[in-house]
Amino acid sequence: MPQKFQGLPREMIALRASREIKDGDYVNLGIGIPTLVSNWIEGKDVTLQSEIGMTKTGPLAFDDDVDQDLINASCQPVTELPGIAYFDIFDSFGMIRGGYMDVIMMGALQVNGRGDYAGWANPAARGMDIGNIGGSMDLCAGATKLFITMMHTDPDGGPKVVNEITFPYTTKGKVNMIFTDLAVIEITPEGPVLKEVFPGLTPEDIQSVTGAKLIIAPDLKEIEL
């Protein structure tokens, strides 16, 4: 089944999500769309942490700037910003679990309206029920604010904001907001609240590609970039 609606390109999801990052924040960006968020923080006084063991990670490195001893947690060559610090992996995860990250952004396979999400194993695609946990569960455990950035539906057009999670959980009850190509959804104690929609789409359009029952925000607006 093809995608029902055309929405934001991945880079623009990242731009929208980047608006939630404030001066002074320490931020960890997961693999996928979250990594693209780093393109949108220029001018902000933000420190990127990479769980491989550094703070003040700089932009991607190319050509002669590539140093095989300097990669981010997505295995991409990166550069140094002034004030960069390197540290051991246990220190890196100490600060992650210890709550020192102000904002954590992750991709997901499925999220539900209670703030649970699944992102580390896709038994259907992999042919087994284990996969790559990586640092995702540690990042969730220590998260102050946990944001999910992802496409609103899977490659077959099926919902990723679901009523019930069917893939192996990464964490439960920790997600604060979801940023997709079609919408911005906030997880509240009452349920998932639709806060912003892609220009031209109605709440009904969004609900039609969403598994979880959405609450429509009284001040619902278009996604502003």
């Binding site: 295995c75 992996i89 946990i133 969730c140 990464t170 439960k172």
Partner: protein
């Protein structure tokens, strides 16, 4: 004490079949590839590779060779499979895991980091919030169903935690930028990653260093791993490799 060995072959000579070896590295960074190559040459069988974050994806050629030689019994890792399921389908290691010929035991990365660290520090077990709300809190996550042993949880101050255990290994292979004859080590940038914790986890820790220097040449305030943790040091050439794991 002078801990320098003259070759990697000599440094790994007494590693016996069935050994558990800690392999640091975070994807392509900081992987002890020359020691891995010596292990392939030696042909040691029935190995358990205790990893942290996909060093064998960074050392893909070595992994494939070890799998083809049937040297591996088990891999412990947080990120042991290719990101792409499509690529994984063609990967001999992943095929062996899917066929249950090799065991793959999976932990959250920070839990693994701490398991190695406490192993070196005489702490048998610790409680962590990581994995609560997932299968990680329920049992050991592995493709071999019979080995899915239950885990304990406990609530402190109203919050749930998982009890995890120290992971001590027979050997640790370490990749350092610089080392002296006493075994003091310095790592470079993000190639540090799991190397310091694994250096403390190995009963016998073998460090390959790109630059061997005399004792006293490393700035004492900048030593990352004190020589007390290192039993063997061997100088190796700097190996260049592709930075990709997709």
């Amino acid at each position: 004490m002078d801990k320098v060995y003259s070759s990697v072959e000599e440094a790994v000579a007494n590693i016996e079949d069935g050994a558990t070896i800690a392999i640091p590295g975070f994807f392509a960074a900081g992987v002890p590839r020359v020691l891995l190559q010596a292990l392939i040459k030696k042909g040691t069988k029935n190995l358990t590779l205790a990893c942290g974050c996909g060093p064998m994806l960074g050392a893909a050629e070595e992994l494939t060779q070890l799998v083809k030689n049937k040297q591996i019994k088990k891999v412990i890792d947080s990120y042991g499979l290719y990101r792409s399921a499509t690529k994984g389908l063609q990967d001999p290691f992943e095929q062996a895991v899917r066929a249950s010929e090799i065991e793959l035991e999976v932990y959250p990365m920070g839990t693994l980091a701490e398991k190695y660290r406490v192993a070196g520090a005489g702490i048998p077990a610790f409680y962590t919030p990581t994995g609560v709300g997932s299968v990680v809190e329920e049992h050991i996550v592995t493709n071999i169903i019979a080995n899915r042993k239950p885990k304990e949880t406990r609530v402190f101050d109203g919050k749930k935690y998982v009890l995890e255990y120290a992971l001590k290994t027979d050997y640790a292979f370490i990749h350092a930028y610089m080392g002296d004859r006493e075994g003091n080590l310095v790592y470079r940038k993000t190639a540090r990653n799991f190397n310091p914790v694994m250096a403390t986890a190995g009963k016998i820790t073998i460090a390959e260093v790109e630059k061997l220097v005399e004792s006293g040449k490393i700035e004492p305030d900048c030593v990352h791993t004190a020589g007390v943790y290192v039993q063997r040091v061997v100088e190796v050439p700097r190996v260049s490799f592709a930075i990709t794991i997709d």
